[in-house]
Every structure is written in C-alpha cells, then in structure tokens.
Amino acid sequence: MKSDIIPAIRLTIVCLIFFAGIYTIVILGFAQLAPNKGKGQIITQNGKTYYANVGQSFTNDKYFYSRPSAVAYNAAGSGGSNKGPTNPDYLKDIQSRIDTFLVHNPDIKKSDIPADIVTASGSGLDPDISVEAAKVQVKRIAKIRNIQEDDLQKLIDQQTEKPLAGLLGTKKVNVLRLNLALDNIK
C-alpha cells in the first residue's frame, strides 16, 4: 500500500493534465470552427438574438404556444415535473390545462388536442411541439391576427422538420422559428 501511494498521486496529476486539460483544450479548439464558435446555435431577427435549441415560453394568444414547463422556460436551470402517472394532483393539472386550452381555442374539438401541448417536457426547455399541436392552434391565431387559415397551414408545413433522413424519429415544429416566421407575415 505504502509503495503505491506516491505513484498514485503522481499518476492522478498526469491524468488531470491530460484528460481535464489537454482533452478539453483540443475540443475547445475544434469548437472555434463550429457554428457560433461552440457557444450554442443562435437565430437573429430584427437585431435580436435567440438560442435556436433552447425553448421559450409562449403564452400569449397571438403566438403558437410552447409546451408547459416545470421551470417556466428559465434556462438558468432545467428539469421536468417529475410527477408520477397516477398522481391525483398531476391529473387535476392536466385536466385544468385541457380546460384552459379549450377556453382559448373554442373552435376545436377536445379530441384534437395532442398530449404534448398539455404535458411538461423533461428539460422544461423543449424547443419543439408536434405538428398536430401547431395545427390545433391555427383557428385561434387566424382570428386574432386576421390571417387566412390556409396561409397558417402553409406556414406550419414550411416550418415542419421531417424525421432524420426522412426515416428516423419524429416530425416536429420549432416553436421559436414558427413564431418568428409568423411575425414576418404582416
């Protein structure tokens, strides 16, 4: 044991320099070639910048809503609701979210509401909603903004991101990009 202590300490220092130091610096070097120098992908519109991948809170009726969030889309932190599937309080919350959604979208059928728009994401920062969740909001936004429903449907189709290589995973809409495009219409 005694004869192992000194090599152990020296080996730890060498590993620290190599794996925490050199490894990180090499990747940091590559990051300088990446989009926005590895500081996170951004979108700029009207002189304002936003993080493309970090979801934002959209609660105003004139925008497409984003999903409910356990951290209110404050990206200083992150996290889900961690509510179990049979928790009675949680189920009450879902019911009240459905009711609220119907109040704000009186022209739709309840069975058209997709689950993602009334459930919280894992990170609380989900940037996307499903295509159904965008389409179910068309009637409301058309009325408030005085835009043809067809134009909004087209906008959603343009903003829909296909599954990876057209084959793998989900179809989705980035809410921020959709709303930025929506602001550009008028």
Binding site: D4, P7, F19, A76, G80, P85, G122, S123
Partner: protein, 566 residues
C-alpha cells in the same frame, strides 16, 4: 414502418456493428498487440509511466492489483472532496456558484469515482466549471478502472496456471489513452458541430420573443457529454441531463449518445472472446445479455407508446404516446429505448424523466439495475455476469453430478462462498436501505415531507429507485425525490462505495484463485460452457435470483401502482 420504431432498430443495429470490431481492438490493447494508433500513443503512454514513476513491466498478482486500484481511488476521492468544497475561491467559476456542503461533496465525489454519477446537485447552480473539469477527469479514470480490472479477470481465465496477471497501471493507462480518449474526442467533435456548447463563458442573458428576460446556462458541455456516455458514467452537465436541448440538441446527437454509451459494454464481451480465443463463449454471453435486454425493452416501448390511460380517458389525443417528461424531438420510442439502455448498462444518463414513466416501464428500469449485468457498466458489467456464470457452473455441476469446472479450473467451496456473498450483496444493500428510509418516512411524514414528490405507491418507488440506482452504480433517479439532504447524501454514498468495490474485489479474488489452480484439460466429462444450454442455465440463475430477491419490493411499488390505475 413507424419512423420512431425504425429509429430504435437502427440505433441498436449500429451499436452491434461497431462493437464487434471495437471488441477485437480492445482485446489487442489488453494483450499488447500492434494497433494502428501505436505510433501516436506509444510515446504518450511512456510519458505517463515516466512522470508517474511506474514500471509497466512489473507483473502483479490479484491482491497487488486490488491494492493498486484501491489506493488510486482513495487519492481521487480526497482530491474530489477538496475541489468540490472549495469552488468559491478556485478559478473557472464565472457564475459564482457556491462550494458544496461536506455531505454533498462526499456524495458527489464518491458518486463520480464509483462510475455512478448520482447527482444530488444541479449542474447549472451547484458546481463551477473547474468542478466540471474534475468530473470530466473522474469520468475517464473511473471508466478506465473498470476496464483495466476486467482485463485482469480475462487474463486469469486463461488456461495456464499462474499468479502473475499483468500490471494494473499498464492496463489502466492504456484503457484511458487508447480506448476512452480517441473515441471521446470523435464523439465530442460530432456533438460540437451539432449545437452542443463548448465554451468557458458563463450564463448568457437574453430577451425572448415575448419580451421576458431569461438567463441561459452554457459551459464546456461537449467534452463532458462525450466521456459521460462512452464511460457509462451518466452524470449530466445540466440538471436535466441529456433531456436538455443543449446537452442533446437533436435526434442525430441522441443517436450518437445512445450508441456511444452501449458501445464499450458490448465490445467488452467480444474482447473476452478475442483474449481467450473463445469466440463462441463470447457469443453465448452476448446472446444471454441481449435476450434479457429485449425482455425489458419491448414491454416498455409498447407501454409508453400507448400513452397514459388516465389521460386518454380525459378525451385528448395520445397518438404520440405518454409525453410527460419527454422531449418532442426524441419522441416516446427513442425515449423509452434510452431509458432501458441506460438502466441495463450502468450509465444512468437520461433523455426523459423516469419518474413520469408508466408503472410497468418504471419497474423494467429498476429490473435492469437490479440484474445489472445485461451488458452492464464498462467492465464491471462483465464482472457481475462472471459471478452468475460461477453460480450457474456450480448448480449445473451439482445437477449432473460432476465436479463443477469453468474453463478447466475446479470451482470449490471458497470461490462459491465469495460468489454467493457478492450475489446477495446487491439485494441486501437495496432492500435494507429502502426499508430504513421507508420506516423513517412512514413514522414521520411531516418531517420528511420534502422527500417525496408523489404520494402512495409511486412515492415508495422513488425511494426504491434511488437505492437501486446507487447500488447498481447507475446514477439515474426518480428525480422527484428531494435528495440533497444529509440522510440521502450519506446513505447513498455508503451504498455506492460498498456496491462498487466489493463486486470488484469478489470476482477478481475468484479469478485470481482459479488462475492459481491446476489446469484440467477438456474431456468428455467436462461441462461445456459455450453452448446455448449453458446460456439458458445462466439466464435462469439470473432470473431466479433477481425475481426472488426483488419481487416483493417491486410488488409494493410499481406493480401496486399498475393495478391501481382505474
């Protein structure tokens, strides 16, 4: 076919396709055969030995290996405690995050050197960038420890009679520089170019489209996330782990991360086949592991994609499946797949919140950790499987009335005693600690009200999951548990230490003792271990041990919750 299911199938196929050649490469690294990275890495390794004052040619017996391993880990633990408790005045802390309390630092330091990465803090607010760098170091070296010590067991399984089993430092350094380092580098670069941040700047302030001001956490994320998966560590840079859109920005990065975490555990099985020149044995082991994995995966996929039946009753559309705690860019299938992969392997990173899964899915996640050897963590997963092989050899030997032998070495009372102690340790740690916490909560629900985020059966599952995760050195959680308290930090810390080092010491001791025994050549009376029959036997031993030990505990939690759904 459904694009979500197709994605899952392709992600699994990719792992196996990559793991077979990687296994051969790992085998070459262990027995010091030539590889194409030698030119670059031979000088690097020599520098490691020279600066550390190590003689890599000095062969060790199994006891010397364990002493070297434990001494090294002790140094890391003390170093980790020091950094985590002094982050306020140390450099690289742009957000002025506080130092950890002694109990939290104890838990975190152990958690990362044990390859568990249970996190009772949130990355955004609980640790500085220096702390994150030290954790990057720990993720490399804890994984390297697991790989190196498994190589020792591989050597001990060879036919010759010997007590010399290679040099621990030699195996450790090579595992880190030749296996973990190059692959991590590639993965990190892929992640950076797909939107994972890599910067030392602190939190950014932005005004969002609706006009609210929010802060956005960043950091050296890509470097961290690559090794977190490759080493089956699993600790998140951010609180939400790989559900966070900066840690895992899209479906492609999700595929990279899930493939990376399953890679080495599967490759290790093929490395065994290469080192021992017993390919068929490797395929039998891989087959048993895969069947176990699929038996947990398929019911989980089906359950999650069906959605929460209580929410279906409210009259909305659940075509996407159960979306609470899941991200739209991954969908339910890729999330459910990840949740089982991360629990059978001891990664414990998450891309969706396990606490919000359906009861049966939650049970399968726990079963993955309770068995802890369907692939298992880097290196140690195989060690757990080795224990089950020894048990299966012994039981089959008794059934056919022969002296139990494994690879030409007689298994006798001493080895069996060690194997039984290790096999029973895991249930003992999980059940006793869950019993204590349940007792405390049940007798003082107001004092401990902050512990549980959910009432009833699910609340109990949160405690059971936490200790299962600690004992399996997994690190995922039912994160509703309010776990940054003195009780949880200390108790989980103790469980993690025992569950890491005893299941390393046990198999190494058995293998070391067996290596010293006389080799008996194969004859007509030998029990063949590379057959499907023997594979079935091992599977039965695993199923019976896990089912018998954990069934009552699971009945009180997820099974009761399942039957309570009206």
């Amino acid at each position: 076919m459904n694009t979500e299911i197709l994605g899952v199938i392709l992600m699994y196929a990719m792992v196996v396709v990559l793991a077979i050649p990687l296994g051969r490469y790992i085998g070459k690294v262990f027995i010091n055969e030539k590889t194409w990275l030698d030119k670059i890495l031979n000088p690097v390794d020599k520098l490691f030995y020279k600066l550390s004052g190590i003689n890599p040619d000095n062969e060790m017996n199994w006891k010397q290996h364990l002493v070297a391993l434990l001494t090294l880990n002790l140094v890391w633990f003390l170093f980790g405690m020091f950094v985590l408790m002094n982050m306020t005045w140390l450099p690289f802390n742009p957000d002025n995050n506080p130092s950890m309390s002694p109990d939290l630092a104890f838990n975190t330091s152990i958690s990362f050197i044990c390859n568990t990465n249970l996190q009772h803090y949130s990355g955004e607010t609980g640790i500085s960038y220096l702390g994150q760098l030290v954790l990057i170091l720990f993720q490399f070296i804890s994984a390297g420890t697991g790989i190196a010590i498994t190589a020792v067991v591989f050597f001990a399984m060879k036919e010759k009679t010997t007590h010399k089993l290679g040099n621990f430092y030699f195996l450790f350094v090579r595992s880190c520089t030749r296996i973990l380092f190059p692959i991590s580098l590639i993965v990190a670069i892929l992640l950076v170019f797909n939107g994972t941040p890599m910067t030392f700047e602190g939190k950014d302030m932005i005004t969002n489209l609706q006009g609210d001001t929010v802060r956005v956490s960043r950091g050296p994320v890509a470097a961290f996330v690559a090794i977190k998966h490759l080493g089956t560590n699993g600790g998140g840079f951010f609180g939400a782990n790989s559900a966070h859109p900066l840690e895992n920005p899209n479906y492609f990065t999700n595929a990279i991360e899930i493939i990376t975490q399953m890679l080495i555990p599967i490759a290790m099985v093929f490395a065994l086949g290469y080192v021992l020149k017993r390919r068929k044995l490797a395929w039998v082991i891989f087959g048993v592991m895969t069947i176990g994995f699929l038996m947990l995966l398929i019911p989980t996929l089906v359950t999650e994609m069906k959605g929460n039946p209580t929410i279906t009753k409210m009259g909305i559309s659940q075509t996407m499946g159960s979306m609470e705690g899941k991200e739209v860019r991954f969908g339910t299938a890729a999330s459910a797949y990840w949740s089982i992969a991360t629990t059978v392997i001891s990664t414990g990173s998450i891309n969706s919140m396990h606490d919000s899964y359906m009861p049966i899915s939650g049970m399968n996640q726990m079963l993955g950790m309770m068995v802890n050897c369907f692939y298992g963590g880097v290196g140690v997963g195989f060690l757990n499987f080795y224990i089950f092989i020894i048990l299966a050899v012994f039981i089959s030997g008794l059934m056919v009335g022969r002296t139990p032998e494994f690879l030409g070495k007689k298994i006798e009372a001493k080895e069996m005693k060690i194997a039984m102690i290790i096999a029973l340790l895991h249930p003992l740690l999980i059940l006793v600690s869950t019993a204590i916490s349940s007792y405390l909560y049940a007798h003082n629900p107001t004092l401990y009200a902050g512990w549980l985020n959910n009432p009833g059966y699910h609340g109990y599952s949160e405690m059971l999951y936490e200790f299962t995760s600690s004992s399996a050195n997994n690190g995922s959680g039912f994160e509703g548990l309010g776990d940054n308290t003195l009780f949880w930090n200390i108790s989980c810390g103790i469980v993690m230490i025992l569950a890491r080092y005893l299941p390393i010491i046990g198999p190494v001791a058995i293998a070391g003792i067996l290596a010293n025994k006389k080799y008996i050549p194969e004859s007509a009376g030998t029990l063949k271990t590379d057959t499907a029959t023997f594979g079935l036997m091992v599977f039965a031993v695993i199923a019976i041990l896990a089912a018998l030990a954990f069934f009552p505990a699971l009945t009180l939690g997820p099974i009761a919750e399942f039957f309570s759904i009206k």
